[in-house]
Amino acid sequence: MSKVITITSGKGGVGKTTTSAAFATGLAQRGNKTVVIDFDVGLRNLDLIMGVERRVVFDFINVINGDANLNQALIKDKRVDNLYIFPTSQTRDKDALSKEGVERVINELRDNFDYIICDSPAGIEHGALTALYHADAAIIVTNPEVSSVRDSDRILGMLASKSRRAEENEAPVDEYLLLTRYSPERVERGEMLSIEDVQEILSVPLIGVIPESEAVLKASNTGMPVILDTESTAGIAYGDAVARFLGEQREMRFLKTQKKSLLRTLFGKA
């Protein structure tokens, strides 16, 4: 059974595209045929984060308008088997994604893929609603910060009322909280909402915590999904989150401030 997973947040700049790229790559690495779609019409960026910007020929809008078929638009990743990128267009017409058009494309993708990852634009209007409409599962990307938490709550409200599953009275969308840009130091100093705080407020099961990490910027510089940087805390944390999504039990990591242990200090290991 094919599954549509929407990566959403309400607020912009919290890490949706970073997460979409990481999740899609992680799912594909584990042998699932996966496609990641950019729903952020006009602000195409997933192609850059995935490092395929020079290979874009046709896009989502072309396929919806019937100017190209799916096979012509899907870009096969060169690093990871089973992974495909479906870029969006740069059009300024935000309504270019018609409801019928998107439905037709999603249904065609469902016939061919195990996982369809939808990278949502920011906001709670047309664009974000289009990206979440077909969701079977949603990953709510949240930063430990007031406006991000509030917007996540609004998006949860939309999932419960405006998704296809809600409209057709099916089982509700599976919701998961992914806390990103987490800084244990700042939480310890009382400057940042803790995991427990955010979970208590949103009451959605936690799928992972991605620490604030310099590796994310570095990965985006070179067009490599950060999950492929297995040396980095963010890359490892994304790997854990994907494993949990697939049902594995994994402890949360990187939640404590890094205090050097006596042994480490003695032997000079950082």
Partner: protein, 109 residues
């Protein structure tokens, strides 16, 4: 839900995170209540207004209806702001013969 006295007492001087949590809990409680409001609320508000308007000169925005959920119980709260309202000179029931009391207490003002 709200912060306990102990938590308040031991809140570190620069602990802004607990302030953030408290503010979020309050604002989201309101926003969620607004979201889960059933569809009949606007109509109920309109009809209530028309009934009240038979007796009192009231404006649209003087009636507020909210439905709040606190755990297991839901509370339907109807607020009619009366300080600016005036009792109508020709009360509809008065035409049925019986004079009605226009004392403040009777109108609930």
């Amino acid at each position: 839900m709200m912060m306990s006295i102990m938590e308040r007492l031991f809140r570190k001087r620069n602990d802004t995170a607990s302030v953030a949590k408290e503010r979020l809990q309050i604002v989201l409680a309101h926003e969620r209540a607004g979201r889960t409001a059933p569809d009949f609320l606007p109509l109920l508000q309109k009809e209530l207004l028309s009934v009240v308007a038979k007796y009192l000169e009231v404006e649209d925005e003087m009636i507020k209806i909210t439905l709040e959920k606190a755990g297991e119980v839901s509370v339907l709260e109807i607020n009619v702001e009366l300080d600016k309202a005036r009792i109508r000179k020709s009360l509809p029931i008065a035409t049925e013969g019986k004079p009605i009391e226009t004392k403040k207490a009777a109108a609930g003002i």
